[in-house]
């Protein structure tokens, strides 16, 4: 994951359906209220699927993962060569492979029941929580953007920039204990917020599509960081030729919650606080109300006196700030010995999945982040103890997104009811037709 190609592959894997240019929308209206809202409809459908769909998607993906585990397992392959003679053998082998895999996943993610002591047994859970921390926080940031009608794909760039800022404050400054970590966090959050707001500003003022802008800003951030890391006197550790920063100062570190032998750090509590904050912002604040109104129907929001351009910038600012918090806690809590341009570790993109799985709802994002943190922690144990490639976990994660993007499929499998939502599309089509008439 340390190769510079990384952002490109991930970007395309997320974006293909998303970037199709909208031929019809370029000639009408002020850019901030692009007259064509098909996009927003499609995005809204994907990001706000119900919790039942999310749960169904996870179940389906885990089932599909079982099939893959069974197919790739050597024991199963061997037993299936004489399937017609003794089919029971094959079934047993399948059961063993799948059961072994998922129990290893459980041992690696939640509780290691083979460990000698309770403290050791609970270690996997703390690992999961540690991995979940940035996913939750960045997921919240993206969820806020999604709810505001903005498909922020720029998690990677926002993380990189914030890590750079927080990291720089972390190793280059000499501040007292307590204050140092706060300043570093603030710097990281502010950098992420600015990087996000930059995308919002470009959209609000020029009408550029945020998907394209944020993806491109990912590259800018990536190469900017590469430059900073390769230039002595900036972020590069003195006396080193590697593109890597010096370690963080002791005073800038987030304290570990369970003592030095566990990696779980204060960032996790910040993540929980962020969940509450994001929930309050979206559901209880006037700003969140405006953002959601713009996200759902920018025209009606504008008529109701809400400044759509301002909302776009603010939404991206808040979104970037939260992603920035994720980047900051990574360098100040987990990877404290200096970092390189792979510090985002794909979290900026995984957070998209987390936000989608959590229906862009803060509490949902919390659980989705915990699940993905568990996958990350458990996946490596699965690989080590059962010889199952960790890629299976990635496939399961990807399948979750795929199923969430196809709610009708999940609904059909589990016979869930179709949410009874009248499409407002008729008004739009009418409106468009009338506008054409006016123009002649």
């Amino acid at each position: 994951m340390s190769e510079p190609q990384h952002p490109a592959t991930d970007a395309t894997s997320v974006a293909p359906g998303v970037v199709a240019p909208d031929a019809g929308g370029d000639d009408a209206g002020p850019p901030a209220v692009a007259r064509d809202t098909r996009w927003n409809d499609a995005i809204a459908r994907v990001v706000s699927g119900g919790w039942a769909v999310s749960l169904g998607a996870v179940v389906l993906a885990v089932l599909a993962g079982s099939v893959m585990i069974a197919f790739t397992d050597e024991g199963v392959q061997e037993a299936s060569s004489y399937f017609f003679a003794r089919p029971g053998d094959t079934l047993a082998a399948i059961g063993q492979a799948v059961g072994g895999a998922y129990s290893a996943l459980f041992r690696g993610a939640v509780y290691n029941y083979t460990a000698d002591s309770f403290v050791q047994g609970i270690r996997p859970l703390t690992q999961s929580l540690t991995y979940a921390t940035p996913l939750i926080v960045a997921g919240l940031g993206l969820a806020i953007a999604f709810r505001s009608g903005l498909f922020n794909i720029g998690g990677q760039g926002q993380m990189l920039i914030s890590a750079a800022a927080a990291g720089w404050v972390g190793f280059a400054f000499d501040l007292p204990v307590g204050l140092h970590v706060v300043v570093a966090l603030v710097a990281g959050v502010a950098a992420g917020a600015l990087w996000g707001a930059l995308a919002g500003l470009l959209k609000a003022t020029t009408g550029a599509h945020e998907v394209i802008v944020t993806i491109m800003l990912n590259y800018v951030a990536f190469y900017l960081l590469s430059y900073l890391l390769a230039t002595p006197g900036l972020l590069q550790a003195p006396g080193s030729a590697n593109p890597k920063t010096p370690p963080m100062a002791e005073t800038a570190l987030l304290p570990r919650l369970l003592g030095p032998s566990f990696r779980l750090h204060l960032g996790f509590l910040l993540a929980l606080a962020a969940v509450f904050l994001a929930w309050w912002l979206l559901e209880r604040s006037s700003l969140g109300f405006s953002l959601r109104a713009v996200g759902e129907n920018p025209h009606a929001a504008r008529v109701a006196g809400i400044d759509v351009s301002r909302s776009t910038v603010l939404a991206m600012l808040v979104s970037g700030a939260l992603v920035g918090l994720a980047g900051s806690t990574q360098v100040l809590g987990l990877i404290t010995t200096g970092f390189s341009y792979d510090i985002d570790a794909g979290i900026g993109f995984d957070a998209i999945t987390v936000a989608l799985l959590g229906s862009s709802n803060p509490v949902g994002v919390l659980f989705a982040g915990l699940l993905f943190g568990g996958f990350k922690a458990g996946g490596s144990v699965m690989q080590a103890s059962e010889g199952i490639p960790i890629e299976i976990v990635l496939v399961v994660q990807s399948l979750i997104v795929l199923f969430i993007a196809a709610p009708p499929l999940v609904r059909a499998v589990f016979r869930l009811p179709q949410p009874g939502r009248r499409t407002p599309a008729k008004g739009r089509r009418l409106g468009a037709a009338r506008r054409q008439e006016v123009q002649r």
Binding site: A293, N297, R302, V303, G427, V438
Partner: protein
């Protein structure tokens, strides 16, 4: 071809959308299906068109029972449907749209566009449509697009034609032309089902009228029935079609518009040097054929147009150049023409929509926090006061019927401290019962001493509400006349002919 529906029943869960409906349509007959929004007319037609499967009952064509698994079967059997929302591909030409789904190909799978063009021309000539087969659909006016839909149906030899609320998108003139086309089709032997809730149209073309209410047929009527009779059949109670209002009591202050000009992004002038006054306590109706600048005028008054010159003064305060928020705060209430697009956030709850434009302060926002208790109490009060039929203030507004949605918008706008009300087509797509209610509210607002501007495309509404009528044509004011001006004079004015007698501006 004779169409017969026998005992059609369609249920959605507990809701019975169609309850044992019997309907017969003879060839050469226009049969009107009249009912309020949500009465089950469209469900019935979707059953006929194979989009829904009936739970009970059967469909017969020329006394033969039919089984439609989908619209394809229905089309093959000779049923054509002209939907309210056109099923056309905007970037395709007329000929391409007509052939879509029935493409004829030449060797090598090449499309035989020529035969499609010929077919379009043939049908267009037969009915005197002026439609160019090579015109791109999105460039055509709405009325012509509808003709393309009709041609599409006829090109598949439809003998039974269903028009589902076809006039909702049409100007009065286009409506008249459509009526003519329907009569022509009827004389050609087609059986026509005409779905509508507009009484005037029903009486103009119907041979027979069937009234549907709450999924069941509640009666048949002759085309000679009066509007009041038809309306009370539809609604199930006597309906006031006439708006009762006293003479306006004009007061000091009001709205003064001077030399207002609105241009679009390309520089085309949409509202051209418009000046008028509306004193407090008067309703001025802005009438005109749709697309003559009324919409843009209303939007300019609400602060929604960006390229505006001239002056809009409300009680002496200049509104041109202000943000929407500032215009709202100046006391302007605005009921937009298209509630789904501009008036409501469909997925938001009734309560949220009732405070959509109150995000800037008390009583619903304090220190940046929503005041849910105040909001919900307010919402309950308004739901009660405006008789908004909803399961609760927490229901998404998108689930409400059109009339109730419009009541949400009207309730929101009228509940602020208004100094001007601008209502653009406040009763568009609204059932008769709600129309009556909304009209009453508009008049009450006037009587409270607020200047009111209503944009109307239907003359009935214009005449019913107006104290004075301003007629627009091509962005300009043709004249401002009293509400008792004869209809034919108004009609001429809408075509751009200025009245001969003096204006009352």
């Amino acid at each position: 071809m004779k169409l017969e529906l026998r005992g059609i029943t369609k249920r959605f869960g507990a809701l019975v959308a169609n309850d044992h409906i019997d309907l017969t349509v003879e060839p050469g007959e226009i049969h009107c299906l009249l009912g309020e929004n949500g009465a089950g007319k469209s469900t019935l037609m979707n059953v006929l068109y194979g989009l829904y499967q009936a739970d009970e009952g059967e469909i017969l064509l020329d006394d033969e029972v039919q089984h439609f698994a989908g619209p394809g079967d229905a089309m093959t059997a000779g049923i054509g449907m002209v939907h309210q929302h056109f099923m056309l591909i905007p970037v395709f030409t007329v000929a391409e749209n007509v052939m879509l789904g029935h493409e004829q190909t030449r060797a090598g799978g090449r499309l035989d566009l020529e035969s499609a063009r010929t077919r379009v021309r043939e049908i267009a000539d037969r009915f005197g449509f002026h439609v160019d087969p090579d015109a791109v659909v999105e460039d055509l006016p709405v009325g012509v697009q509808q003709r393309v839909e009709i041609i599409k149906a006829l090109s598949r030899d439809a003998k039974v034609l269903v028009f589902d609320e076809p006039t909702a998108v049409l100007t009065p003139q286009e409506t008249d032309e459509l009526m003519g086309i329907m009569r022509q089709l009827k004389e050609g032997g087609a059986a026509i089902v005409f779905i509508t809730h507009k009484l005037r149209e029903v009486r103009a073309v119907a041979d027979r009228i069937t009234v549907v209410r709450r999924g069941a047929i509640v009666g048949e009527a002759e085309p000679t029935a009066t509007d009041a009779q038809l309306a009370s059949l539809m609604v199930g109670r006597p309906v006031e079609l006439v708006v009762h209002k006293d003479a306006p009591r004009l007061a000091e202050g009001g709205l003064s518009v001077r030399n207002l000009q609105v241009t679009d992004a390309r520089g085309a002038v949409l509202v051209d040097d418009v000046s008028f006054e509306v004193p407090s306590g008067e309703i001025l109706v802005v009438a005109g054929v749709q697309g003559n600048g009324q919409t843009e005028l209303a939007e300019a008054l609400a602060g929604l147009q960006d390229r505006v010159t001239g002056s809009i003064r409300l009680d002496g305060t200049e509104l041109v150049g202000r943000t929407v928020r500032q215009v709202l705060d100046a006391g302007v209430g605005y009921v937009p023409e298209d509630r789904n697009e501009d008036g409501l956030v469909g997925s938001f709850t009734v309560a949220e929509n009732l405070v959509l434009d109150r995000t800037n302060g008390r009583p619903f926002v304090r220190a940046g926090a929503l005041q849910l208790r105040a909001r919900d109490a307010f919402a309950r009060e308004k739901v009660e006061e405006y008789d908004i039929r909803t399961q609760g203030i927490g229901s998404p507004v998108g689930r409400l019927s059109g009339g109730n949605q419009q009541k949400v918008v009207v309730a929101r706008e009228l509940s602020r401290d208004l100094r001007l009300l601008v209502a653009a087509q406040p009763t568009r797509g609204v059932d008769v019962g709600s129309i009556e209610f909304i009209h009453k509210r508009v008049v009450e607002t006037r009587d409270a001493g607020v200047p009111v501007i209503v944009v109307a495309t239907e003359l009935d509404e214009a005449v019913a509400l107006a104290d004075r009528i301003l007629v627009m044509y091509r962005g300009r004011v043709v004249g401002i006349v009293p509400s008792d001006t004869p209809r034919d004079v108004l009609g001429l004015m809408m075509a751009g002919v200025a009245p001969t007698e003096g204006e009352a501006a």
